[in-house]
Amino acid sequence: MALLEIKGLKVSVEDKEILHGIDLSVGAGETHVIMGPNGAGKSTLGFAIMGSPEYEKTDGTVSFDGEDITEESTDKIAKKGIFLSFQNPVEVPGVTLSSFIRNALEQVTGERIRLWDFKKKLAKAMEALDMDPSYAERDLNVGFSGGEKKKAEILQLLMLRPSLAILDETDSGLDVDAVRTVSAGIEAYKKDVGGALLIITHSTKILEALDVDRVHVIVDGKNACEGGRELVDNINENGFEQFVK
């Protein structure tokens, strides 16, 4: 049984259909990549899986761990073990990164966490991501550079330990060093947590160090092609035009 199973998913935003029946199956611990040109509906798929109220599922189903989560609320989906790393993380003034992660962790696990244990874990994860420790006490994403915001997303991923992480354009807008650090964080997640990855990207930098199990190409809100890692090289060479009918 697949961890994430999407069947015939249609999604509309403000009554305009963006996804016209997507099928996707991700097994536990697998790494899948979703590629496609701008505007193909890749990010829409991520938001729809996460249950954003702005993305209306008009047909099809999303199941996770054998449960139908098509109509589930976002927080319940998160609690079941899905994490979405945002392309544009939101700034939340007055809430520190540290207190937010602790709060989220307590929500997800349903347990109180001792401050001392938490701080140790957080410091370790931040070090792995080459983040300045002072960021822990800064307001969530407020005044963070693009790179720091993405690192903060991966930090949350490492701390919350979901069984499926959806990374939405995590590598976009990052310089080479930041991409390397973020990639290292993703590798650490694979290694420590052993979770599945669904990587939404239109470039391939972030994939270099990862074992990719499956690549899905989405064009115009539909599955256009599916294959192994070699598909990435193909796209690098020939672009997406070949899939556009």
Partner: protein, 468 residues
Amino acid sequence: MKEKTQVADIDRSMYDFRNEDKDAYRIENGLTEEIVLKLSEEKGDPEWVREFRLKSLKLYNEIPVPDWGPDISGLNMDEIVTYVRPNTDMKTDWKDVPDEIKDTFEKLGIPQAEVKSLAGVGAQYDSELVYHNVRKDVEEQGVIYTDFESAVKGEYGDMVREHFMKLIPPTMHKFAALHGAVWSGGSFVYVPKGVKVAIPLQSYFRLNAPGAGQFEHTLIIVDEGADLHFIEGCSAPKYNVANLHAGAVEIYVKKGARCRYSTIENWSKNMYNLNTKVARVEEGGSIEWISGSFGSHISYLYPTSDLVGEGARSDFTGIAFANTDQNLDTGCKVAHRAPNTSSYVNTRSISKGGGVNTFRSSVYVAPNAKGSKCAVSCTSLMLDSESRSDTIPAMDIRTSECDVGHEAKIGRISDETVFYLMSRGLSEDEAKALIVSGFADSVSKELPLEYAVEMNNLIRLEMIGAIG
């Protein structure tokens, strides 16, 4: 984790417990000369206080109800009991306070806080203080912290008389006159020259009797170069009849002194909170107001700073949370009456469930107040479209050689932020509560830790209906 999801169903049991009305003495309802005289006799006032009460009562009857703020026609003075004496006299050891009253303050965490982080505590139950104590080392510094009655009658009687209701004369407005007529309880603080009180003093006012009024008087004198942090807390259980709070706080900040006055007000939602606070700041002195308004049905509250000495300074940090059936008219007033004075006003307001917040500021800069600075900033958060938030700034600037600024912002919680937080496992209510706590952070970080925690709990209470 036990969490209620019905936002409407707020569990206020933490503040809402009430004790049976077993007061020793309760004056009859209403307000007449006869009642005031009886109250005065009951309290054993000196002559001048009795005269002051009668004069104030006369003014009360002459001065009209304010016609510019929230409607207070639901407040009928004929039904308010102005004096309720608890069934005990004042103690200096919690062990001696009757169990029922002691329990009340224990539930509110007062004796616990006293042990941990306060230099002195006064606890008022209805109209009289039931407990007053100050730490020995603070007393040895020469700091006077007593209930107001002892101050009036004791060795500081002259000092009290000289300062009592001079900053808030009964002519100021109708409820100042009312206060002058029926005041009871409160605290007197005197910090001698150069003495710095390292940890705060706190007075807590609990109104237990239904249909009663609380009119405590707080007089603080911080002498030259001295330093004080005073905390005022207040709460009451909810009744179906109107309760009234018309206290008065007068603070004298002498040359080079500093006073920080923090309040977390959490009256029940049948309370009319018509409180008046004024500080007079001399040369180089500073007053810092920290003000959290959470409870009450209707509030009129505008702490006032009168900057009379060169270089005097006022800082006001305030937050008001208006939920269903609450109309909070809050803000502050500053008068710059000397050169190079400065004032900073930073307020936040949150409106939810049809609650109404009005922020009023009044800034006066006198012709001689050259080189003065004033910055007023007010930010409002509206949690739904049925709530309301208004900003009414008034400025009267009589010199061109000063720098005055005002900014106001009104915002809403964005769906995007809520979704982001929910994607990390927070429920919608949790997410909104966190955003609101973050919004209030600039105020809560000005508070001592315990009070910041209490404030966050109050926000959660209003947002989610439970304390996590």
